[in-house]
Symmetry: C2
Amino acid sequence: MRDFKWSDTEKKIARAAYDTALQKELTAIMAKFKELAVAVNSPGDMWDIEHYLQNARKDIDAKYVYRYSRLLALLSQLVLENLIKREDLQKLAQDKLEIIDSLLEKHRNYLSEDDE
Amino acid sequence: MRDFKWSDTEKKIARAAYDTALQKELTAIMAKFKELAVAVNSPGDMWDIEHYLQNARKDIDAKYVYRYSRLLALLSQLVLENLIKREDLQKLAQDKLEIIDSLLEKHRNYLSEDDE
């Protein structure tokens, strides 16, 4: 992906979207964790939770890398996963929105091919 | 430590003591886990629990190795940690009890030196 200039406004928009999505995911992981923890009945259940937390943490760490060279791909992914809305990104410059929209479209086409 | 013969009765005694202690430790870890889990308020608290579980599991795995060559040392340790009672081992043969008692004494002397 080519090298974009990010204005201060754009950086704020991207950062807010990133933070919103991360917060949503962490909240969901915490809710799931609490649900699992209450149901723990044996040491095995407890080690399953250790495993769940370890995987969740690794997934989050791998996904939420805030790097400008990766940001358009990540923002597109977050829209696809319904963690943010496409409208949240509306004030990014046109060149970036075009990339995002083309990634969204590519992915949706790919998904609809899967359905056939 | 020299190679002992373990009669079937002795094996049963050792195994029961080992299982009792392991069960007590796991129960305590589960109780602590439940207490921590209820108090989780942030992702950081949750990753602390992951860390707690990981350490607890590694400690248990390293400690509870059921190997006859290590058993007298382990049983002595479990008595010292009040996880089993010296009386639970009373029906082991005299040669084994002597080793256990000498390990207990050595350790208690060491602890009392520490106090001075």
